[in-house]
């Protein structure tokens, strides 16, 4: 089972076409293993990036050094997954 402990989802809002091109470049860097949940489209539209814990620092530095604004949409993906699993289990145990 693949765990996502410490993975964050960053909501990134590109201000201009240059930002979009930079984000597309980020997607090409396979070693960072960034999973684009929502791809950058046009300036002002958000992109959502799931970033493994091991790449978090590098990705955040990349965004900050290029002046690309972002916020943390999901603090720890695994926490949400655990919550989801718990809800499913509870639902299965419930008598209807």
């Amino acid at each position: 089972e693949e765990l996502f402990v410490g993975h964050q989802v960053l909501r990134v809002t590109a201000d201009n076409e240059e930002h979009i091109a930079l984000l597309q470049g980020l997607a090409e860097q396979a070693e960072l293993q960034v999973d684009f949940w929502r791809h950058p489209t046009s300036p002002g539209n958000p992109a959502d990036l799931r970033v493994p814990f091991s790449s978090l620092q590098a990705v955040k530095i990349f965004l900050e050094s290029n002046g690309i604004p972002y916020s943390i949409m999901i603090q720890d993906v695994q926490e949400l997954l655990d919550e989801e699993k718990k809800t499913m289990l509870k639902s299965r145990r419930m008598e209807r």
Partner: protein, 307 residues
């Protein structure tokens, strides 16, 4: 819930496949289950057929879950299929539609990927086919269609989430739908459901020129998102894929449109970006409920505008 099935919870593929049989048992004169093929890992590809009779009637195709991690779509599919069955004979719109047309509904379009999201990787998007010469598994089934295949917005790298595959229809999950729709020959609408960007989109995705039916599709999308928003105020954007998101080649609805299916739409359901693919199950029913009037708008328009 109906019997022991909880529509407000996420379910495994076994639970969903069992429920398909329950739905058929509960509505034997309206609903049947057909198998249109097998997935890469040999799981059956099931389609629900809603029909009140007649041979080779014109039809509407619905599918959910081609990207397996988008769980809200399979869950919405289940609720919607049940709604169609329950509302026939009650709701005048769905009754009128089914008195003249058939509806085909594939709820788990990517069963291997879906099973994988339950067992190994909750965030799996692609199919599970092996790629020759690569250790990376799977193809993005929504880049595998023969409509601008291999171009922008898809990747030739098997490790990418948008890998288009070695050739069009290489994925058995895609080929099964292609064969079914072309073999049927009378499908008038294809509605493919995704998440989570709150959009209603139509062709084209692989080229920038407007579709010949742009005006009509745009007006219909406008009405559908307005009726959707009337339920809980959820705001959707709408337009052609290329104008609204980005150029994306090899997608389901472009293929459908290029093959004569005029009313081709793709939905991007909730959410607003707080949970992404991990939308809490408490939002399944609100999501499905608000989507229903928009789906009805499209289906009713198809009924009233034969071609």
């Amino acid at each position: 819930s109906t019997g022991t099935f909880d529509f407000a919870s996420y379910h495994t593929i076994d639970e969903i496949y069992n429920w398909l049989d329950t739905l058929v048992e509960n509505h034997p004169h309206l609903v049947s289950k057909i198998q249109i093929g097998q997935s890469y890992e040999n799981r059956p590809l099931y389609v629900l057929k809603f029909s009140t009779g007649g041979s080779n009637r014109s039809a509407i195709w619905l599918d959910t879950g081609i990207h397996s991690r988008e769980w809200i779509t399979q869950a919405t599919g289940i609720w919607t299929a049940n709604k169609i069955a329950e509302e026939y004979g009650q709701d005048p719109s769905i009754t009128a539609i089914l008195d003249s047309m058939d509806i085909f509904f594939e709820i788990v379009t990517n069963p291997d990927g879906f099973a994988f999201t339950h067992s190994s990787n909750r965030l799996w998007r692609k199919t599970r086919s092996l790629n020759a010469g690569s250790s990376c598994v799977g193809v993005d089934a929504n880049r595998n269609w023969d409509a601008g295949f291999g171009g922008s917005g898809s990747s030739s790298n098997p490790c990418s989430e948008t890998y288009h595959g070695p050739y069009p229809n290489s994925e058995s999950e895609v080929k099964a739908i292609v064969d079914f729709i072309l073999g049927h020959g009378n499908v008038k609408s294809v509605i493919s459901i995704h998440s989570y960007s709150q959009m209603l989109l139509f062709p084209y995705g692989y080229k920038t020129e407007p579709a010949p039916d742009y005006q009509e599709l745009n007006e219909l999308a406008k009405k559908a998102v307005s009726d959707l928003a009337a339920v809980y105020g959820t705001k959707y954007t709408y337009g052609s894929i290329v104008d609204t998101i980005y150029q994306a080649d090899g997608t389901t609805v472009d293929w459908a449109y290029d093959n004569g299916v005029k009313y081709s739409f793709t939905f991007e359901l909730r959410d607003t970006g707080r949970y992404g693919f991990l939308l809490p199950s408490s939002q399944i029913i609100p999501t499905a409920t608000e989507t229903w009037p928009a789906l009805l708008d499209i289906m009713l328009h198809v009924l009233e505008h034969p071609y």
